[in-house]
Symmetry: C2
Subunit: 221 residues, 2 copies
Amino acid sequence: MSEDRPIDYQITDDTKLHRLPERGHYDRDTVHAILDEGIVAHVGLMANGRPVVIPMVYGREGDILYIHGSAASRLLRQGKAGNQLCVTVTLVDGLVLARSPFHHSVNFRSVVVMGAGTFVDDPLDKHRILDLITEHVVPGRIEGVRSHTEKELRATLVLALPINEASAKLRSGPPVDDDEDYVLDHWAGVIPLGVSVGDPIPDPRLTPGIELPDHVSEWSR
Amino acid sequence: MSEDRPIDYQITDDTKLHRLPERGHYDRDTVHAILDEGIVAHVGLMANGRPVVIPMVYGREGDILYIHGSAASRLLRQGKAGNQLCVTVTLVDGLVLARSPFHHSVNFRSVVVMGAGTFVDDPLDKHRILDLITEHVVPGRIEGVRSHTEKELRATLVLALPINEASAKLRSGPPVDDDEDYVLDHWAGVIPLGVSVGDPIPDPRLTPGIELPDHVSEWSR
């Protein structure tokens, strides 16, 4: 890590980048930007004494990360107060094609947040946080739907994980080959990747006459 | 799970879909197709007594999943023989916009493979498997690069995880709203998502005159 980068988060043995330390970032702006661009997090927790990784949507509010699931979810209950979680969000930006297989790589931005979660119990808080998660995935959506019912709030678990022990890891740019390999006549470079968005597909049961709202037609990531 | 679906893999308490069992698949064809389409897996393992989730490229050969990393990687060493791993691959196919926030969802296909990994030590095996991982990410690439050196093989850890305790989870199609909500005049439907591919960016140090090969110009997922 270069000396002039800000450090906002706790660096521990598990979040510190030991190899390639120049790829590690521990500042709020970098971590927040990656979390805000992602859609699905991979949540690691212990179940029956073994690590389990499940994809989940999430939301962020300041330095708190929220995940949610069914109150009937056995897995999410494992994340109960005091149990350790690891939430990882990865954005794949490109495939890095080098002149040797060894130096092939991926351009990516990822965040790892570790720590213990707590359940959110207050219905008003839950309501706000579930709206926030929906808005994270589709900004502008909440004005376009009916509100939560009490029954739905009861059926939903919301888990809050403080963003404190956290790090980001970034790779960008062209391949880095061994000096002697640059003379080889293999093509090398980057295939840029991103999220493609198709034309919205209206629900077959959509009431006739309802127009496509801007928050749908303009969705991008 | 519907009765007529084939079951090829071991269903355990951790890979069985307890809720929404109709989304669970335990057959080879479904699991292989998802693994073959993914680029990055999220690998969960225990480090210092806590779950850690890291993104990694991977490859598949029959019912074996391979991940690789630097021999200096502390994390990958945690996956040593006998230690439990969970490898999850998720493809995000669309955002499902319902009339209530509660029924918002994501169309996705994911695979979870659990079990204990073993290190691959034989240099010839390593060579073949590292080629296989490169080919998984960029089919046709291996013919276009120089081969591995002995030093590179020594510097790389390859971990094999049998695909045995595995399951796939799928959601597709339109939102499913509560009956009484279909009369609401909110737009509902799906925003399809996929992987966008930009124009390949040649390495600034690319030898002049090298043309873009087909395996790069035709790459898609």
